[in-house]
Assembly symmetry: D2
Homo-oligomer: 336 residues x 4
């Protein structure tokens, strides 16, 4: 950590600051220039509250050199973390496809989609029971009832299930859920992260719409600091000025997150683009960039053809995509 | 609402869609061009799930004409809402200043700051007991203990207090709080919004870092749809590519939110810029743009001069600012 | 095009507007609702000045249905454009790699890099003679002298060359250049685009840092409207809030631009990320997403090891990357 | 400037770098920590090419402490620059209003608007002869003919005129123009900036849609390094995710630019928001934040009422706004 001091900092003030840092077991080395002076901090600076430091009278700015996260940091855990999701391995050389509908709508729908995606190669089932919706007047999911249907699909197909939590008071409903998803809008719901850190469930943590990769890793750190090391990072698009796609899928986050952290990285091309036609090319690109898994929306083909999901693939399109992914895997050192 | 249909939509499919809309009491009028056809929807379209509509096979895109919010909409409530915060009126021709420290640190600190800002003209006290922090290793606030200190400051000064909730399980601690703040990171914590909609407490709803004005109004709508009409909107800066300021304060949100909605609009110049020197010009600009209140960080001047808050004003600077605001108010039709 | 009218629009005003549109050979069909009315415009609306329309008294907003570009539009040119760059084919089933140093530094440097990248599989040579630099005090390129060195490298290796123009007054220097590059900062230098539209040189048009895909296509339209159909689109990263990478490479632009337009799409992973380690995964991802070419920075390995380019590959790393790209090409229907 | 070195940097490499810096008259002081080492650079670092430094093998990252601009820097020129625009003073305690139509349309139109805005208090006339338009099919301005009309309005009213240059080959047409405007899209057209640095004309430099304040100051530095010290900075809105306004007016840029630089700062509320109703509140906010001038679009009221400019004020609305601005000026230490 580098502390740039203001022009007028007195010897006494610099001495006070240095002593305060020493109390945190951080050594401060002074470099004086003509117009400015800096302190180079040596030692474990994760314990230094950077905002407090920036708030000090004599401090112009603070620049980090070391990452502010430990548990999620590859420097301290060089090997890839492989998470065991009820027997399905995620991370390292393993590649997985998580698939299923946006919302659970009926027992028939979820079981039918589950069967289709399993046959095509998916190894985990996704489906929303609690749905975050911008409008209070929009469908909010089947909630507890939807959870029952998901568990039924799990029993029928044997696939581990991934579903989103929106309220900590629902936690007891997630006992048989295999992976708890924290949605993009809750990525910095720190109270939720702390609570989930107290469980041992694998957590699929989605990157917030306007959150940096470092903030995503800090949110993972919240969960891990609580004792739960089973965190799966998920890139799902960030908000930019471009309006053609719903969000801009930041595929560069895949190799960067994997460089910075040992945690597995999943990509959600369906929500990122919001356009079913883009799911295939963005899935292939994500695999080529080194993603450990994809999470893809698949909807069964209803008879009346009214609703097939703006961002959802049909089971047939998913089947074709899974076949196209297979030959890519050896090129990135992975196996399905 | 306008539904642009895909090129190949058949007569039967258009008929199905029209019938489905009729079931929602919305009339669809067809306009056929050479290369495309559109449906103009007439009636109350708030009940139409736009994402479902966009997901339909024959739909190219959906464009809204009417706003998707009702309770928060000025069209249906032309008069300014004036919220009574324990006797302090917010909205309409009233102007208020909410001031206080970022975090509650001790009974002496919060009471001292409260006395100073009250003397300078502040009419409500802010202070954080539960603090959202990016890092799990940073100070998380004094929590329940901090709430006690805030209530002590309220008793001593008689000022209504504003403080942030981070977890619904803490709601019972907020009984004597006058305004509950929903932080930027929880603006789309829909479960929290619903629950707060069941109370009658005034809610200070901060705009999320990457949320549009329409999304802010939809979050207000969540609270209002639950029966709580006492919503105060707060602009606190959005995330952009500019890194010189912590966020970019979107002052145009003030007149726009007040045009779209009847709810009062507060500006937080301290968090937006993160720079104490910017609080004064941004406060004056906000008042000139028509804000109903300001929420300003003020920290007492500690003896050791180590920490005066990167974005906090000293009580003296706050005093000077309050004096500068006064002559602006008649120009925008407001009184303190 | 859909014109949403303001509440108070009179019959006479609507009549005037309809007549004005008729003069542009566009038919306006009225749909009246209870609270609002819309005009659906039928016919070729590219001639309608949308900003003028939006400026009209009785117009609330204007929403496009058709794209505002013709020459660049795949709807009117369903087949992929294949551009012949001095014998090298770009677009369709052809895949090309453009490689070379950021700046031309000396005849030896550019010739040596050219030989190395050609041997590794590159089919065109890039190198900057005129360099856009944020600071007036930074190296501005060898300019006319650098052009001579580039041409020397072309003579020696037989590779077509790609280099950037920054000033129309330099155009005569570009006579033997095979592809003229328009940099991101000049994407909306409309006077430059018009002038280049009068030549028959292939133009590599880079997407601006804050420009939408539609704006990129409109800039291509400027060149094509002038008669030059040889436009190559280039995605090179957009500016977002994320600071870890220099820009955010928008790989979803590849399939989207190819869907909207028949023009070839090139990706520049070097400038987008600014990090040499990211060039490989982002290159593979771009190929998997369907890019027609890559443009990659390669720097020869100087003896003193002082400068190897933050975003540049060594010739060896480029060689390894080219070998990894080869097996991907059949999966996306391309050949080198 | 602080240079963070990579973990494995050898003594010899550090020595080479230190020697290279010494050649640039910059002293490098080493601070070694356990995991990393930094070099603190002492001396005038404006001559150091930061990108070259970042590109070096042993360099992890480079962090600036001093601003990379000199001529535009308030540190070296503490007093406000006051620019004399043909007798009208801009900067310091002077406040000016620049007003006029978006485009020059006819001699009658421009003279009529000029008379009206002058009567209301405007001291300079704006109007576009060369118009940057996204579409090649949109009206491109009356060009040379429009320049003649502007000069006629100048003769008639005696007001200095401000108009945009889009092509250096038009420079001779600008001889009698009082202020040459560089549009947002040309803010980083470095060849244009250099050429304008060779004139003595006041330059109104608009901030680019995605450019930081530092980049704006670096573009000013290009002009000033050429010898032309008459640069006026203009904030006109930046591109963000918010789509309700055309751009997001960054009013915090006003006090920040004035803190960083001695150059006058103008705000363009018309282009920033694109909404005429927002011009008034955003103008008042800009004045309250300390702007030195406003540049406002005013259109005369055409008989047929078809076109009054989505973002333009009528002369009457402008008149009312000018009256509202007057009482604000003493509060910010300015006089009209």
């Amino acid at each position: 950590m580098i502390v740039v001091l203001k022009g007028g900092a007195s010897e006494r003030q610099i001495g006070d600051l240095t002593a305060w840092l020493k109390g945190l077991r951080v050594e401060a080395r002074l470099v004086k220039g003509e117009q400015s002076a800096i302190l180079g901090l040596v030692g474990d600076t994760t314990s230094v509250d950077i905002e407090l430091l920036q708030a000090m009278d004599i401090v112009e700015s603070v620049k980090r050199i070391q990452e502010p996260y430990k548990n999620a940091n590859r420097k301290f855990h060089p090997d890839d973390t492989v998470i065991d999701v009820s027997g399905v391995k995620l991370g390292g050389s393993h590649f997985q496809i998580i698939a299923g509908p946006c919302s659970v709508e009926s027992p028939e729908q979820i079981c039918e989609v589950a069967r289709r995606v399993k046959a095509a190669g998916a190894t985990m089932l996704r489906g929303g029971a609690f749905k975050p919706r911008t409008s209070p007047y929009a469908f909010q999911g089947l909630r507890a009832e939807g959870m029952e249907m998901l568990l039924e699909a799990k029993r029928v197909t044997g696939m581990p299930i991934v579903t989103e939590i929106m309220n900590l008071s629902h936690l007891s409903l997630f006992e048989q859920v295999d992976v708890i998803q924290v949605g993009a809008r809750n990525m910095q719901n720190f109270e939720m992260l702390k609570e989930l850190g107290g469980t041992q469930k694998p957590i699929l943590l989605k990157r917030g719409l306007a959150n940096t990769m470092e903030e995503l890793l800090m949110s993972a750190e919240y969960i891990m600091a609580g004792g739960n090391k089973n965190v799966i990072l998920c890139e799902r698009g960030i908000r930019t000025f471009e309006t053609y796609t719903r969000n801009t899928l930041d595929i560069s986050a895949v190799p960067l997150l994997k460089e910075l952290s040992h945690l597995p990285v999943v990509v959600d091309p369906s929500h990122a683009t919001g356009i079913a036609r883009m799911v295939r090319p963005m899935s292939l690109a994500s695999v080529a960039a080194g993603a450990d898994a994809l999470i893809i929306e698949v909807h069964n083909d209803p008879a009346n053809a009214l609703c097939d999901g703006a961002q959802s693939l049909t089971p047939d399109a998913f089947d074709a995509l899974a076949k196209d992914i297979a030959p890519l895997l050896p090129l990135v050192g992975k196996t399905l």
